[in-house]
């Protein structure tokens, strides 16, 4: 491209500052909206997923066997047998993970696995004085569990380590607030199938996820087994990975190797992820529409300029400019409008996101926050600029093409222009 084409494009842009500023404003608003809405949407989603990934394991191996082990007789004979066990009691059919210690060691040896911990979950009722409160009880081995879900970092009052001894309980901040327990208080925790234990509150945790903080308690694995009436049972193995995004692959691998149902964090939170995906699609559509409107602004203004500049195009063509030069000059103008709009939109979007991040608000739904949750993602600035550039080029193509088809002789004869 000859430099003179750029020179002409820039000068003509500058000569119509007001018109082109309107086009720039349209693009700027599109990019600003893209950045601000994405920051808000991602702010919530990133915070939620961040919290979920800290408080939840990346993969859970459940006590449901996908390929039940063959009967002992079949294993001895090494061929299929018809076997029936008479008088089987429900406790004989109790779901559990067999030989959990060996399994834990095997899982931890797998590449990409950072830590694994066995636990037992179940529903229980927490009693404090006259108050009863249903809870989601997590029976854990505190040391190994902390390597998987880092519960200790959420303990705001008391001590996570105190759970290591028996008869301790750590309750969610939401539970503590509702029934009024404090560290040092004694509570009772029981379930219909097991014992009721008197436990001392050794800590209160606040994960920042109201649904978790309002329902979950942590006790030692042994206490959970006693409360649920499942002695020596490990109901699940929770796994932490070096790369959480690989959780689905690892879950499939664990199912294949160990024969237990495995669930990735994506599967566990599939509802939320699907919702986020749908939200993102809708937002993408809205932002696309806003940027398209900006594009139509460029289109309208460029068409007007081409109509006004028909005579100038004719003179440029008569002094040796090619059709491609005219096409390039108008495309350049569209691209420059788009890039200036994108730059201003990026800059104002950045300051808007910063401002939104300081706005006081109270969120108590899926995540708790005192301020507007925003996520300032640098990628969005690049996407905004690229999207604006594509829109600008597309919008200016029609007028540019039209300009490049101007026949100088038609203008000179007075047929157009």
């Amino acid at each position: 491209m000859p430099r003179v084409v750029l020179f002409i494009a820039l000068r003509q842009l500058w000569a119509r500052k007001l018109l082109n500023s309107i086009a720039v404003l349209g693009v700027m608003l599109g990019v600003l909206t893209l950045i601000a809405i994405n920051a808000i949407m991602q702010g919530f989603q990133v915070k939620f997923l961040d919290n979920i990934l800290k408080i939840s394991p990346h993969v859970v191996l459940l006590d449901k066997q996908l390929r039940p082990a063959p009967p002992i007789l079949a294993r001895f004979l090494r061929r299929p047998v018809v076997a029936e066990v008479a008088h089987e009691t429900p406790s004989d059919r109790q779901l559990r993970i067999n030989r959990p210690l060996e399994l834990l060691r095997s899982i931890e040896a797998l590449p990409g696995v950072v830590a694994a911990a066995g636990s037992l979950n179940g529903s229980a009722v927490l009693v404090f004085g006259p108050k009863q409160y249903p809870v989601d009880m997590r029976g854990i081995e505190p040391v190994s569990q902390d390597r998987v879900t880092q519960v200790s970092s959420y303990v705001t009052t008391g001590s996570y380590r105190a759970l290591t001894g028996s008869d301790g309980i750590i309750v969610g901040a939401g539970i503590a607030q509702r029934i009024g327990v404090r560290v040092g208080d004694r509570v009772s925790l029981g379930s219909p199938l097991g014992q009721t234990l008197s436990l001392k509150v050794v800590g209160i945790f606040d994960a920042g996820i109201p649904p978790v903080d309002a329902t979950r308690v942590y006790v030692s694995l042994r206490d959970a087994q006693a409360i649920l009436g499942k002695p020596d049972v490990v109901g699940r193995v929770e796994v932490r990975l070096a790369t959480p995004a690989r959780a689905a692959d690892v879950a499939t691998q664990l199912e294949a190797v160990f024969g237990y149902d495995a669930e990735s964090w994506q599967e566990s939170n599939a509802n939320f992820l699907a919702l986020f995906k749908q939200q993102n699609s809708i937002i993408g559509f809205v932002i696309g529409a806003i940027l398209a409107v900006g594009g139509f602004g460029i289109l309208a203004i460029q068409i007007m300029i081409v109509l006004q500049k028909t005579r100038d195009i004719a003179i440029l063509r008569s002094v040796g400019f090619r059709r491609t030069d005219i096409l390039t000059a108008f495309l350049l103008q569209g691209a420059i409008i788009a890039l200036v709009g994108a730059a201003v939109g990026d800059l104002s979007g950045h300051y808007l996101v910063r401002f939104l991040g300081t706005m006081k608000t109270k969120q108590e739904s899926l995540v708790r926050s005192e301020t507007f949750l925003v996520h300032d993602d640098p990628k969005m600035y690049v996407y905004g600029a690229l999207f604006a550039l594509v829109v600008g080029l597309l919008a200016s193509f029609i007028p540019a093409w039209r300009g490049s088809r101007v026949e100088p002789v038609d203008v000179l004869r007075g047929q157009i222009g």
Binding site: P2, R11, Q12, W14, D312, I315, V319, F321, R323, P408
Partner: protein, 244 residues
């Protein structure tokens, strides 16, 4: 100076029409030119006169590679213009031809100097600084040096037309084609423009084809072509009979 530019020798045919016909219109065609044949020699000052609708401007556009003939050939330095594509004709216009129109057609966003520089910059044979110096020299030669920084809108009609002549000649064309260059000027300014043209032909060795309605100006050309109803009805060469 002209030899250094690689210009043709005087008398050498530089532009030639061979039985050129031009029709305009869609289903119902109007014949504007009827098999016109004419040769333009180097360093000629040719005037083209005739009544409105006689086909003189159409012939000029065909000679200037701005239009294509319906039949026949237009040759510039032996190259058939009809055989060139749009870009080829554009390049040829930029390299070998200069245009002056009745309405000056200067670019209003650019200064006088930039208007003169732009064809040179597109041609690409000069650096920006060289094009600037050459454009300024051309403007000064035409007495427009002091107006170089002004916009066309700040000049009189005569000044604007002289700037358009400067733009046409600054790019070292072989031939300048002028379409009624004095048609929009008062007598004094028209006289000034004619003076510039005569000086360019006489002193710079330029070949000039000028369409005009003014008989007095046409008479100052070295060769006078008269058109009527799409035919050349008279070819008066003051230096001798034409072979075109």
């Amino acid at each position: 100076m002209t030899a250094a530019r690689g210009w043709p020798e005087p008398g050498e045919v530089v532009l030639q029409c061979e039985r050129v016909m031009r029709e305009l219109g869609g289903d119902v065609k109007t014949r504007i030119l009827h098999e016109v044949s004419v040769s333009i020699r180097a360093r000629e000052f040719v005037s083209l006169t005739g009544a409105s609708g006689s086909g003189k401007s159409t012939l000029l556009y065909l000679l200037g590679a701005l239009d294509r003939p319906s039949s026949g050939r237009v040759l510039l330095d032996g190259v058939d213009l009809g055989a060139l594509d749009d870009d080829g004709r554009g390049a040829l216009r930029g390299n070998k031809l200069g245009f002056v129109f009745q309405f000056h057609f200067l670019l209003p966003e650019f200064s006088v100097l930039e208007n003169v520089m732009i064809p040179m910059l597109r041609r690409g044979r000069r650096s920006r600084s060289s094009a600037r110096a050459h454009a300024l020299a051309t403007l000064e030669k035409m007495g427009l040096g002091e107006l170089a920084a002004r916009r066309p809108g700040q000049l009189s009609g005569g000044q604007q037309q002289r700037v358009s002549i400067a733009r046409a000649v600054a790019n070292d064309p072989k031939i300048v084609l002028a379409d009624e260059p004095t048609g929009n000027l008062d007598t004094a300014n028209a006289e000034g423009v004619m003076g510039v043209f005569e000086s360019l032909v006489r002193d710079e060795g330029l070949t000039l084809v000028m369409v005009t309605h003014e008989r007095a100006f046409a008479a100052r050309a070295s060769r006078q072509l008269v058109m009527q109803d799409g035919h050349i009805i008279s070819d008066l060469d003051q230096r001798g009979p034409s072979d075109g």
